[in-house]
């Protein structure tokens, strides 16, 4: 099937999912015109809306790119959430505790974020390739554990003395070390994300390792006979996934958030998996899908301001999209 056809096959289920949701909301008595207006204004046309779309596309994109490597290697690493949190933890620790000048502290903080993500993912990868521990369960558990670790760090060693009560958070990072403001993204951040996309594309499509990874995922037996180090390649896929997710966490704390907070972005790792699938497991596709879901996320935040739709309605929409997204509505047409 040609590219246009593939694109249509990827977009159509989303269209149907959205339409189904709108119908459901209309039946439940909500004003879907205001919902649609809210979504458009929140994602595209409102003041600073597109900035918000990009702000949410950024972590989705990075986690999805990481997930892509594992998916290609045939590993279902759903630990992007936890890996991102650990990345944020690593970055924030360096940014708060590192006394050196900015030009050293900044790269160190980014590297620390990537390293923490890598270790968190690498641990799951190690258990998988070495002991065949099911990666779905292990990464799920590691997500829970990462939440608790962040909770400990933000109420214990790196607790912000000024914040009390309901919130657990580290202090704000020195503004010299910030990569962007609280309202979204900055040119620096965009350039860094662009570099990350380029790196992911080069590794996935133009490196020996990228091709081998794909081969290992599709035909592990053939890869073995060709002498590819199957287990090492799979492990490397985990390391890559963790690095990218860790970078997402680093960008979150050094960029928009400016600190590490318990309970921030709790479901982004799940959405990122959907982004990878919607993006047809291709780097350019993932970029487009990330912007789409980033827009949806921005719209979700804006929507309650203009519409009565409860926040659970948006959860339905997300679930509906995931349910529909891999469905082959065009199967019969494709066979012909």
């Amino acid at each position: 099937m040609n590219r246009v056809g593939q694109g249509a096959a990827a977009i159509l289920p989303i269209g149907i999912a959205v339409a189904t949701c709108m119908l459901l909301f209309a039946l439940a008595g909500y004003d879907i015109i205001s919902v649609i207006l809210g979504v458009t204004e929140g994602a595209l046309t409102g003041f600073g809306s597109f900035q918000q779309t990009l702000r949410w596309a950024m972590p989705l994109l990075l986690i999805a790119l990481g997930f892509l490597f594992c998916l290609r290697a045939g590993e279902f690493n759903i630990g992007g959430q936890g890996q991102m949190m650990m990345g944020g933890l690593g970055s924030v620790a360096v940014a708060l505790l590192f006394p050196g000048p900015v030009w050293i502290a900044m790269p160190t903080a980014l590297l620390a974020g990537m390293l923490c993500g890598l270790i968190w993912s690498g641990f799951a990868g190690f258990l998988k390739v070495r002991y065949h521990a099911d990666e779905v369960i292990v990464t799920l558990m590691l997500n829970f554990i990462a939440v608790l670790l962040v909770s400990w760090v933000t109420t214990g060693p790196l607790k912000d003395p000024a914040v009390r009560g309901e919130t657990a958070s580290t202090p704000k990072i020195d503004s010299a070390l910030r990569l962007g403001g609280s309202d979204g993204i900055s040119p620096t951040l965009l350039i860094l994300v662009g570099l990350a996309i380029l790196a992911a594309w080069v590794i996935a499509e133009r490196s020996r390792m990228g091709v081998q990874l794909r081969y290992v995922g599709k035909a592990p037996q053939a890869a073995r006979w060709q002498g590819m180090a199957v287990r090492r390649l799979k492990f490397q896929a985990y390391l890559l996934a963790g690095t990218f997710a860790g970078l997402a966490g680093a960008f979150e704390v050094l960029g928009p958030n400016g600190r590490l907070v318990t309970g921030a972005t709790p479901t982004i790792g799940f959405t990122a998996i959907v982004v990878t699938i919607v993006g047809l497991s291709r780097v350019p596709g993932i970029v487009i899908a990330a912007i789409f879901f980033g827009g949806l996320q921005a719209a979700i935040l804006f929507l309650p301001i203009v519409s009565d739709l409860p926040s659970s309605g948006i959860k339905i929409l997300e679930g509906m999209i995931a349910l529909f997204v891999t469905a082959e509505f065009l199967r019969h047409w494709r066979q012909r």
Binding site: V202, R206, S207, R208, M209, V211, Q212, R214, Y215, K218, A219, Q221, A222, A223, R224, W225, Q226, G227, M228, A229
Partner: protein, 506 residues
């Protein structure tokens, strides 16, 4: 005139652009063993699929024992009395014998819940009746191939099949097992069952069939005809068309210096499932030598291949490749030293069917692509070299980006050979390189093996086809139970090699 067991009229099957069967009409009379003969891709398996109702033809009708069946319905074909034993076993390998038979039986034990003891009693009788001794609680995967095939045939007969189609039944069997199978088929014929055997080996057809039908490129070139009225050359000509048929690749063995290219000293491996491990294997391969490894499938050949390939670490012993000890080194390192491999199963071990051809043809670990520390690749250059290889090995393809599964079996094997033989090599390990290939493709493989041998490389050829081994090997080892039980040099005798394989006393 005998009554007709199976008749089909104007069957046409289309797979995409390819017409797998083109307006085929034929009738098989009752009470004879019929052979359907043809090369790969001639449409034999498609024919079997249509007759057994698994495939729905674009046009045409099928009649079994006088009953017209709804096309595309395997249950209807079964009810009409036709059953099929596929080349690939149809009973789930993870099932226990009794469970598997009960699962596939048309008439189940009554009641919603069965008792294991009752179904075991039921099948025990059936198995005893045809002389299969097997533990009903053992899992199919753990049984020898012959036993599994017998169970598959029993399964079909238990459904009261009047017509029994066997698709390539000899592919996995040893010569003795083939003889036994043919005896069994004759008994069945005498009991009134009509066996239809799909084969591609002329010798076996002549051994068992009463009539022969031949397909070529989807067309019926010979309707079922009594064997006695046909000559070997006539059959060959009909099978391959106008091309002249040579049965031998006449390449004389050259005298080469006897330097050891590959050497196994006292290699032992652990056993895996029903497959025995290797016991104290000593083996040397000289320059310019084709060393055949014979044996009934499942007697350690896989362990031998995987040990040489570096996929299985031996428990004991030493393995030398071109003079250096590689026992501790991995597959990649061995490839760099000049080892090349054609694995057993080309669909899963040889290639990735869902990857584009250029990814399959590039050898990702061999030295010619180790272009320094730079880890990036140029796709244009890779595709160019892929085209060169594919063209040289006569693969018919459209682009280097088409997926592996768009090619036929013979073409896939050419792709593998292209990848493995394109550079310089010292040792080639070829496991079942011609299994399932038609005559032309087989001949191509043999030619390539000879060419490689003539460059001074050594070849270890693992095959369950004695004819092939006799044809091209300079020396033959026979494996049984994970040991080397005999070494033979030309002229070979099928009787002595065969008895070494089954362990019969001389």
């Amino acid at each position: 005139m005998r009554p007709t067991a199976v008749r089909c009229d104007g069957i046409t099957v289309q797979f995409g652009q390819v017409r797998a069967l083109d307006n085929v009409s034929l009738a098989f009379p009752v009470g004879q063993i019929h052979a359907v003969l043809g090369q790969n891709g001639a449409g034999k398996s498609t024919m079997a699929g249509v007759l057994s109702g698994i495939l729905r033809p674009a046009r045409g009708s099928v009649e079994i024992c006088g009953r017209k069946i709804q096309s595309g319905q395997s249950a209807a074909a079964r009810a009409a009395g036709l059953d099929i034993v596929h080349q690939r076993f149809s009973l789930p390998p993870s099932f226990r014998v009794a469970e598997a038979l009960e699962f596939a039986a048309a008439r189940k034990m009554g009641g919603l819940v069965y008792s294991l003891r009752r179904i075991e009693r039921r099948w025990r009788e059936r198995l005893d009746a045809v002389g299969i001794t097997v533990d009903l609680r053992s899992r199919l995967a753990s049984l020898p191939v012959e036993t599994r095939q017998s169970i598959e045939i029993l399964r079909a007969l238990a459904n009261d099949a009047r017509v029994l189609i066997l698709d390539e039944p000899t592919a996995l069997l040893s010569p003795t097992a083939i003889d036994k199978l043919f005896r069994q088929l004759r008994e069945l014929r005498d009991q009134g069952v009509t066996p239809i055997v799909i084969l591609h080996k002329l010798k076996e057809v002549l051994a068992v069939a009463d009539t022969v039908a031949i397909l070529r490129q989807g067309q019926l070139v010979l309707p079922p005809t009594p064997k006695d009225t046909l000559t070997t050359s006539r059959i060959s000509t009909l099978m391959v068309g106008a091309v002249s048929v040579a049965t031998r690749c006449a390449t004389p063995t050259k005298d080469m210096p006897a330097a050891d290219l590959c050497r196994l000293d006292g290699i032992a491996t652990r056993s895996r499932g029903s497959e025995p491990g290797l016991h104290d294997i000593d083996l040397t391969l000289g320059q310019g030598e084709i060393l055949g490894v014979a044996g009934i499938e499942g007697n350690g050949q896989r362990a031998l291949a995987e040990t040489i390939a570096g996929l299985e670490a031996p428990l004991a012993g030493r393995l030398t490749l071109a003079g250096s000890d590689v026992t501790e080194r991995g597959t990649a390192a061995r490839r760099v030293m000049g080892l090349r491999m054609v694995p057993f199963d080309r669909m899963t071990e040889g290639l990735s069917l869902t990857s584009p051809l250029w990814e399959n043809v590039q050898s990702w670990v061999a030295e010619r692509f180790r272009t320094g520390p730079w880890p990036l690749i140029s796709i244009a250059r890779m595709q160019e070299s892929t085209r060169a290889i594919l063209d040289r090995f006569g693969v018919s393809y459209r682009t280097t980006t088409q997926r592996g599964d768009t090619l036929s079996g013979g073409n896939l094997q050419r792709v593998i050979l292209g990848r493995e033989l394109a550079g310089t090599l010292k040792v080639l390990l070829a496991a079942q390189p011609t299994r399932g290939l038609d005559f032309a493709a087989t001949r191509f493989v043999w030619q390539e093996l000879h060419r490689v041998r003539d460059t001074g490389a050594g070849i270890i050829l693992i095959s369950s086809d004695l004819d092939e081994l006799f044809e091209i090997s300079d020396r033959i080892l026979v494996m049984r139970g994970g040991r080397v039980v005999g070494t033979f040099t030309p002229p070979y005798s099928a009787r002595t090699v065969g008895s070494a394989m089954v362990g019969a006393a001389e």
